[in-house]
Structures are given as C-alpha cells and as structure tokens.
C-alpha cells in the first residue's frame, strides 16, 4: 500500500481525498497556490508545498511543478481529484515516467475516450446504443431527407467541426429541412471554415443519467448504479441524485451492462462514469465517458455504502475489487446540492469574499463535503464551489425532507451563495414529482419566483434584532478600542481568564 499520496488539487475534493488517506493510514501531501495558503486542504494535510501563482496554469495545471513536489516529498502516488489534470493523458504518462502511480485510468484509456470519433467507433464495435444518425457529413439534401425520414423527426443538424451551438439547427418537420440545412452549412462555413454537417435524432427533453463504473487492474469491471444529473444551468450540474427516479431494476441492469462494455472496450481501470441521454420513452443513448472521479460521487457512495476514493487507492495499489457485481446493492436515496459562491439575484455571478459567519448543518442523513470555514476568504481565481451538501434517506421523500431541513440550517454570511436556489428547487412541484429533464432548471429560473409575503412576526423580530445588533455593534466597537468600565475589577478577572486560555466562540 502507498505510504504517501500527493493530492494534485484543492478545495473540497482535496479535503475529501486527504480524509480517505488518513482513514487508510497514508500520509497526505498537499500542494497550494499563493492564494490558497490558508485553505482548508493545507490545514488538513501532513505535508504542504507551495507551487506558485494563483493562475491554474502556473500552479495546479503545472505538471513539472507537481512532479517536482512528488519527487521532493517521496510521494508514491498522485490523486488528481476532478478537473485540473485528472483527465490529462500527458500528466498520466509523466507520472508513469517519474515512477509515481497515477490514481486513475491509464493514459491510453483516457485517449480512447477523449476523442469523440474514436470513442464512437469503439462503441460501435462494442454494440453500444448511440443517438441515431450519421457519423459522417451529409453529401446532399437528398441524403439528409432520407436519413431524417429514417430516424424520425425532430432531428438536429450539427456542424462536424463545431461547438458552442454554432452550425446547429433543430428541425421539426420535413418541409423545414432544406432551409435548415442551407442555414447550418453556411453558419458552419462562416464559423469553422468547414461546411460539413451531419444529422442526429433530436431527443426531446432528455434526461442526463450517468452510470458509475469501477474496474481493477485484474480485469474485473462492475457498475455501481446510476445518477440522475438533469438539473443543469448552462451545462453545469447543480443538483444530482441517486438512484434515478425513472430507472427501475431492469433498466439499471441493461444500462450497467452497457456501461461495463464501454469501459472494457477502452481497457478502462479505476473509477469512471459513462454518460447517457435518456428520452421520454426511456431509451438510453451513449453520450461520452468521463475518465475520472466525479464531483457528485457522494450520492453513489451513500446508496451503495462504498467508499469510492478508498477503492480508487486500493485499485491503484494493485488490489482486486473486494466484491462482485451481485454484491452491489442500491439502498435508499441521496440528493446532492452544489453550494457555490454565486449571487442568485445577479445572474449567478461569482461572489468571492470573506465568510464572516458559517453555521453548518448536520444531523440524521446529512453529509457535508466542504472546503470552506468561517473567516476564510474565497479566492476569485477558481471555480467557486464551496461545499456539497447531501441528504440521504430511506426513500426520495425522506432525502428531500432532510436536505430541506439542512439547507434551512445552513448559513454562509458575508458572501452570496446559491443556497436559496436549492430551497426553490426542492419545494417545486415538478421536482418533488421527479418530473426532471435537462430543461428543468432553465424553465424554473424563467418562472416568476414565488416570493412568500413576509410574515409580520418575522419582520418584527428583524426590526428588534437589527436594533440590538446596532446597539451591540456600537458596544463592540467601544470595547475593542480599549475603554475600561470605571469602578470594576473585571480587568483582573479578564487577565486571569486570559492566563487560563481564550475561548473563541
């Protein structure tokens, strides 16, 4: 087993990996950029090394610096977390060359899944279902007409060279196809200097459902259940849950077996996730594979009772999976909220700054993976994910109830967070009814917010408290500037208390 693991990451995931290391008796090595010196992950590590300026390219993405720290510290393995270098084949290779074990898949497996066309070809060989369509450019309007009729409307025309929505046209009916094709081609030519366009079936209101897979280095691959990740804003996941409310036992087995075939086709090892789009008829289609541990892994851990990071470490150390597919059980329901330092009243603009007050929830069924603490200043240089709050219950309703209760206990003062968004989501009729798809959050955000009329009792309390805070604030200012109260001996009392040690509340 490894003696020392270097965590090439920061924030909540670095803390999470450090915890797994400590649970296994392994020393945890942290790296930090100039703005992260006071971070929670540095405080929790056994060794910590500075790696340069705030910009990720100079620090957390700097392969040479990270391997330098590995050498210097004697780390025998590196956990890349998620983001940063976690899916960087060059980094995986550099680790191998440096004789340090990369905790994740091989560079070859990353390469196999990293290219969309190469992945698709491998999936075709493995008999994996795709979104129906062509994987080469359309030669003519006649071909487009024929393919569209075959796969069924609505169809999506896409630029082969494209991205960012350019060169894309949603076509609802055959009579719109000609104009759409001409429009897509000219936009593609204009944006990418390549007018090649292909066609796919347009999935109406898809769900995004992903399957966790785990493979050891001895040929054993299993699936650990799915996660429903349809709640997204600008293609960023915001809330995830396990299991998916629309996946029954039979569908889980079918999707799981496909996911395992995908992983095997790529000779995949360690933890990975196969993403699917699911249509209203519950047909599922391969989208892509993520060759890393994901942000939302806690929901899978809670419903399976497994520790994915510990398993990642064991797999990398050469151990076999300690269980078979049949022994994997899905029990209960877990829902995760990603708490970001963002202002919901201002288009979710990042809200860095100092956390002046932190009241954190706990209690039954509550898990909190956090990188923040009271008096910490959130840096503006990185993704502003502060913490993940997860509610677990014996069923979905209990998970929702516990999570709602925990969100009401959560208070992050001094900065703006998206906590209020989750209260809105969790009480929404469609969320409670599990009527989810990737358009849900956009629709909710367009709805006029159901702002409850302020309870007059609450207003009265706010008035009284505001006055008390003002009065006590003034007193706080006077005491901290050193005015002593006349005729008291509390100065002596204070001194002797100071001798005994201070109490920070």
């Amino acid at each position: 087993m490894f003696k020392k693991i270097l965590i090439a990451n920061r924030g909540e995931i670095a803390v999470r990996v450090i915890r797994a290391c400590h649970e296994m008796g392994i020393a945890a090595i942290a790296v930090y950029s100039d703005v992260d010196r006071a971070s929670l992950h540095v405080r929790k590590a056994d060794e910590a090394y500075p790696i340069g300026a705030a910009a990720a390219s100079e620090s957390y993405l700097n392969i040479a610096k990270i391997l330098d720290v590995a050498r210097h510290s004697g780390a025998d393995a590196i956990h890349p977390g998620y983001g940063f270098l976690s899916e960087n084949a060059k980094f995986a290779r550099a680790c191998a060359d440096a004789g340090v074990k990369f905790i994740g898949p091989t560079a070859a497996a990353m390469d196999a899944m990293g290219s969309k066309t190469r992945a698709r070809q491998a999936m075709e060989r493995a008999g994996v279902p795709f979104v129906p369509g062509t994987s080469r450019g359309l030669e003519s309007f006649d071909e487009a007409k024929e393919v569209a009729a075959r796969i069924g409307y609505p169809v999506m025309l896409k630029a082969a060279a494209g991205g960012g929505g350019k060169g894309m046209r949603l076509v609802h009916a055959p009579q719109d196809l000609k104009a759409a094709l001409e429009g897509a081609r000219s936009e593609a030519e204009h944006s990418f200097a390549d007018s090649e366009v292909y066609v796919e079936k347009a999935i109406v209101n898809p769900r995004h459902i992903e399957m966790q897979v785990l493979a050891d280095e001895h040929g054993n691959t299993v699936y650990l259940g799915e996660r429903e990740c349809s709640l997204q804003r600008r293609h960023q996941k915001v809330l995830e849950e396990a299991p998916s409310p629309v996946v029954d036992v039979a569908m889980r087995r079918r999707m799981g077996e496909v996911a395992v075939r995908v992983a095997q086709a790529a000779a995949y090892t360690n933890a990975g996730t196969v993403e699917f789009l699911v249509d209203e008829q519950r047909n599922f289609y391969f989208l892509e594979m993520n060759t890393r541990l994901q942000v939302e892994h806690p929901v899978t851990e809670l419903v399976t009772g497994l520790d994915l990071v510990q398993l990642q470490i064991r797999i990398s150390a050469g151990e076999r999976l300690p269980f078979t597919q049949d022994e994997v059980q899905i029990r209960g329901h877990a829902i995760e909220c990603r708490i970001y330092a963002e202002d919901p009243d201002n288009n979710y603009f990042p809200s860095p700054g100092k956390i002046t007050l932190l009241l954190s929830p706990s209690g039954p069924g509550i898990r909190r993976d956090s990188g923040m603490y009271e008096d910490w200043t959130v840096p503006m240089d990185y993704d502003p994910l502060l913490a993940k709050l997860i509610g677990y219950g014996s069923d979905r309703d209990q998970a929702i109830g516990r999570l709602t209760r925990a969100l009401n206990e959560y208070f992050v003062g001094g900065i703006k967070t998206n906590i209020s968004l989750f209260r809105r989501i969790l009480r929404h009729r469609d969320f409670r009814g599990a009527k989810l798809d990737t358009g849900f959050l956009d629709r909710l955000l367009k709805e006029k917010e159901d702002v409850p009329i302020a309870d007059p009792k609450a207003i009265e309390v706010a008035v009284i408290a505001a006055g008390m805070f003002a009065a006590l604030g003034a007193a706080v200012n006077r005491t901290s500037t050193g005015e002593a109260r006349p005729g008291s001996h509390w100065k002596e009392v204070a001194r002797s208390e100071a001798m005994r040690g201070s109490l920070k509340s």
């Binding site: 007050l357 207003i459 009065a471 604030g473």
Partner: protein, 189 residues
C-alpha cells in the same frame, strides 16, 4: 474575543461587558422593504424592554456569537443572523432574509453609531474587471435595483445595481477602464 483592555476573554464575559456598556435607552429607526419602524430598546435588570411602533413587545435575547442572536419574543424562539455583503446589511430570521437600514435619530448626523454607514452609498467593483458600459449619467434619478454600470470579468458581464432609490451623485470611472475589487465606481445619494 477581546476585552476592553485588549486581553482575551470568554464569549459570555464579553457579552456581559457589552450589555453593561450599552446606553440605558436606545431609539432606532429601522427600515425594511421601504417601511420604517420606530424601535425603543431598554436594558432592564438582566433583560430587555422593547417597544416597536409604540407597542410593548416581550423580548429576551442572548448574543451567542457576535453575529448571531438567540431571541425569544414571548415564547417563540428565533435564531437571527447578521451579515454585511457588498455594502448591504442583512438580518436573517431563520432562513428569511431582510435588507435593513438602521438609523439613530438622536445622533448628530442622524446615523446609527455602528460601522454600517447610511446616506450616500458607494457602488464598488465586486472583482477585478473592465467597465464595458455606463448606463446612467451623473444627476440621474434611479430606483433601488436599477442598473448603473456593467463590469465584465471572468468572461461574464455583471450589472452593478443601485442599492437604493436616489440620485447618481458621481460616476468615478469611464467606459473601458480597468478596475480592481473594491474600487468605488459610483456614488448614489
């Protein structure tokens, strides 16, 4: 926590000291959602006496953290938090947020003796960026929440809004200017 002479004391000792230093009778004008409430607070023995808009309210309060009050109004219990974000003061009753302004009508400038200022409000850049658009001119009348200027940062545009209804007293930047976090961009009075 620090005692008056700068030595470190326990939280309970600190709160006890604060309460003894509060003036015996405080009057505040508290504004919430455009509505004004007259508040009178008085320390009585170990407790408080309180009148809101002339009406007596039975209140018992313990400051459990510098920004957290455990308040009992009658027998109803409330955890009330206090925070300052981007120049605004918020009081949270449970999970309900209230933007508040507190003024001491007896003080010389009509302002509460707290670090929380009132009167002309500064609009500050929340992070480093560039001014891409100025939406109003000096002297313009604005409503609370009206956009004053647009800052671009981290590939996103952020509209800086007026925190109060008033007049744009001064605009301190021009379009195209680079700004740092905390730079004052405009003043509304």
């Amino acid at each position: 926590m620090f005692s008056a002479c700068g030595t470190v004391v326990s939280a309970s000792q600190f709160f006890a000291d604060c309460q003894l230093l509060i003036k015996p009778f405080m009057i505040y004008d508290v504004t919430i959602d455009g509505k004004n409430y007259r508040l009178e607070l008085d320390r009585v023995d170990d407790g408080w006496s309180c009148r809101v808009e002339g009406r007596g309210v039975e209140v018992d309060a313990v400051l459990v953290r510098p920004d957290v009050l455990s308040l009992r109004v009658g027998n109803n219990a409330y955890e009330v938090k206090h925070e300052r974000v981007a120049g605004e003061i918020y009081v949270w009753v449970g999970s309900s947020r209230f933007a508040v302004e507190v003024r001491d009508p007896r003080s010389l400038h009509g302002r509460a003796r707290t670090p929380d200022d009132h009167g002309p409000r500064k609009l500050m850049a929340p992070m480093p960026g560039k001014i891409v658009r100025i939406l109003v001119s000096e002297g313009a009348e604005v409503e609370a929440g009206a956009g004053v200027l647009v800052v671009e940062a981290m590939k996103m545009q952020n509209e800086i809004k007026s925190p109060k209804k008033g007049t744009i007293q001064k605009i301190l930047v021009s379009e195209g200017a680079a700004v740092n976090a905390g730079d004052v961009l405009a003043i509304v009075e």
